[in-house]
Structure formats: structure tokens, C-alpha cells
């Protein structure tokens, strides 16, 4: 029963990996496949593999994928340029052929009656696996320890980068700032923080200069590139909405005089 619910879900999610544009979506679909696989392991009397599948695959490996995706850019989507002409169509046709042959071949095999793991798991699945792992497969187990250490060293070597320039000290950074100021008049202090003098202190709201214009250096370049920076007039709409909801404080100074007065002064600053 579990199988017939999970199997279509898994096939759909796996097909989705082929067709989604963004790598993040592919990773999430792969997570669906892996968690469904874990449940299939639980159905097939493999509680140890069920736990390992969730902890190692969805917990460690997929998180590693997402970390790397974050490092190399989430929106690095697939290019549609084919370097070999017709390669995509050929691969699809070959894949379909391979899949058909495999599925037809496998489904015609008669596997006989299922022996089941009740006898093998009689003392519990984990002790039974431990018994085999630490007796018959002990050398393979030792070899995996060597493999893991090699993998760790390899990852360290691959991720290591030699420092080509000397590390910038605080003194040299300060000298560089003053030099920039002297050469091209770049402001030596920190950038203005977003939302200053504006009606809103979120990071997507530019700070307002005393003359009412927006200070462009106060919002992150990333937000500006995405086009999610809010403009001062758009914020004024919000204010109108809020005043409509709570009743205009300026019209009722008796009840909310304290809230009304600063609002008026801010209005003057922005206009």
C-alpha cells in the first residue's frame, strides 16, 4: 500500500529533476525522492537503513548540496545551448530505450516467493546487521574508514587556496580609505544605514537625505539589482493605509496626540 502511494510520487519527483530550471528546485525534488525511499526501506524491514537514509542522505548530503549551491550562486540555472548538436534528443531517445528494455526485462523475471526478513531480523535488525558487518564484512568496514579519511584530506586539499597577497591589516585598510578620500573624494566613513529618516526601517527602504531624495548607497546592491528596493512614494501609500485603518491621528489629536505629532514632522521631512 505504502509502495503504491510513494512510487508515483517518487517517479514524478525524479522526472521533475530533469525538467526544473533551477538547481535548488532539483535539490528539493531529490529530497522528496530520498525521504520516500527511506519509507520504502522501513516497509521492507530495514529500519537501520531507514534511519541512515534520512540522516546521511537527506540530512548530510543534500545539505552539502544546498551549501555548495549557496556558494556558487543559487540562480545559476542551466544553459540551453547544446555543444553537441542533437545530443539532448539523442540522450532522451537512448534513455527511453534503455528504460524500456530494463523495465520490460526486469518485470518478466519471476522472483519466486518472498522469503522475508523475519527470521534474519529475529533478534532485531540493528544487532543482526552489526553481527554481519563486524564479522564477515569487517575488512570492508575498515577500508571505508580509510576511504573516509582520504575523502576528508582530498576535500581539504581541493578547497584550500594559497594566499597570493598579504592579508590586509586594519591600519592598511584605514590608510586605503583615507587615500580613496584624497584621490576621488570617496566618503571615508561607513555607508548610511537603510531607513534613516524614512517612515520604515527595513533593509529594502533607502535612507532619505535631508532634501528628501533617497540615498542609493544605503541599500544593498543585491536588493537594487533584484529591483525590490521600495521608493519613498510607495511608502507613503502604506502610511495612508495605516492611517485609514487606525483613524487619522492628525484629525483626532485628543486621543493620540503623541503619535500624531511625530508623524506630522516626518511628513515634513520627506516632502
Amino acid at each position: 500500500m505504502t509502495f503504491w502511494i510513494l512510487a508515483p510520487l517518487m517517479v514524478l519527483a525524479a522526472l521533475g529533476i530533469l525538467f526544473v530550471r533551477k538547481a535548488v528546485h532539483a535539490a528539493l525534488l531529490l529530497a522528496v525522492v530520498m525521504i520516500s525511499l527511506a519509507f520504502l526501506y522501513a516497509v521492507m524491514d530495514a529500519p537501520f537503513l531507514f534511519a541512515v537514509q534520512i540522516i546521511v542522505y537527506t540530512g548530510a548530503i543534500l545539505m552539502l548540496f544546498l551549501f555548495v549551491m549557496m556558494l556558487i550562486g543559487v540562480d545559476a540555472s542551466d544553459s540551453t545551448v547544446e555543444t553537441i548538436r542533437g545530443q539532448r534528443a539523442m540522450a532522451t531517445v537512448l534513455g527511453l530505450l534503455f528504460g524500456t528494455v530494463l523495465v520490460v526485462g526486469v518485470s518478466q523475471v519471476t522472483l519466486g516467493t518472498v522469503v522475508g526478513l523475519d527470521e534474519a531480523n529475529s533478534g532485531g535488525n540493528v544487532p543482526a546487521i552489526a553481527n554481519i558487518l563486524f564479522s564477515r564484512y569487517v575488512f570492508a568496514f575498515e577500508a571505508t574508514s580509510a576511504l573516509l579519511i582520504t575523502a576528508v584530506l582530498g576535500a581539504m586539499v581541493l578547497a584550500h587556496r594559497e594566499r597570493l597577497t598579504p592579508k590586509a591589516t586594519q591600519a592598511s585598510l584605514a590608510a586605503q580609505r583615507i587615500r580613496d578620500f584624497g584621490d576621488h573624494g570617496k566618503h571615508p566613513g561607513p555607508l548610511p544605514s537603510p531607513g534613516v529618516y524614512a517612515r520604515h526601517n527595513a533593509v529594502d527602504t533607502p535612507a532619505l537625505l535631508p532634501d528628501g531624495t533617497a540615498a542609493e548607497s544605503s541599500v544593498s546592491r543585491v536588493l537594487a539589482a533584484r529591483g525590490t528596493v521600495r521608493s519613498a512614494p510607495a511608502l507613503a501609500d502604506d502610511i495612508d493605509l495605516v492611517t485609514a485603518q487606525i483613524g487619522d491621528p492628525a484629525k483626532a489629536p485628543d486621543t493620540s496626540g503623541k503619535a500624531g505629532a511625530p508623524a506630522n514632522t516626518e511628513e515634513d521631512v520627506t516632502k
Binding site: A26, I72, F98, G99, L148
Partner: protein, 97 residues
């Protein structure tokens, strides 16, 4: 148990096609993981079929090897990205010409 093996074959095929058609190195890598997982499913299914835990042990070792493989593979992808500013498998073609 046949249906489990058929599902494993379907997942393996999808992984194969993904490796051949996708261009993003990370997605190609995910498809390799999908193929490994499909094999694991077949191993566990046959373990139940034969009433023998060796299949589950093999699936466990496949998982360990996959973990080590992912660590190294992602480090290689990172290194290529650092030098070529791209995660596309087509851009890593320095030895081509």
C-alpha cells in the same frame, strides 16, 4: 518484490537521462545520487526477497561511498567554479582544443 525492482529501474533510467541532458554540474551530480539510490532500493528489495541481510549491508556501504564521493565531487565543482566562474559542465573544456 518485482514492483520494487521495476521502480528501481525507472529511477535509474531517469538518473541516467539526467546525467546526459542536464548541463549544471550540481544537477548532474544529483542525478548520479539518484542512480545510487535506485541501486540501493534494488539491494534492499533483494535482501527481503532472499531473506538475507547482505543486501542491506551492501546498501549501507553504497551510502558510505556516496557520502565520500559527494564531498570530493562538490569540492571539485567548487574548484572549477572558482577558476571558471561557471558551474556548467560545458565550460570545463580546457583540454578540448
Amino acid at each position: 518484490m518485482t514492483e520494487y525492482v521495476v521502480l528501481s529501474a525507472i529511477l535509474f533510467t531517469i538518473g541516467c537521462v539526467g546525467v546526459l541532458t542536464r548541463r549544471n554540474a550540481l544537477v548532474v551530480f544529483m542525478c548520479v545520487e539518484l542512480m545510487l539510490n535506485a541501486c540501493n532500493l534494488a539491494f534492499v528489495a533483494f535482501a527481503k526477497q532472499h531473506g538475507n541481510l547482505d543486501g542491506q549491508i551492501t546498501a549501507f556501504f553504497v551510502m558510505v561511498v556516496a557520502a565520500a564521493e559527494v564531498v570530493i565531487g562538490l569540492a571539485i565543482i567548487m574548484t572549477i567554479f572558482r577558476t571558471r566562474r561557471s558551474a556548467s559542465v560545458d565550460d570545463a573544456s580546457l583540454l578540448k582544443y
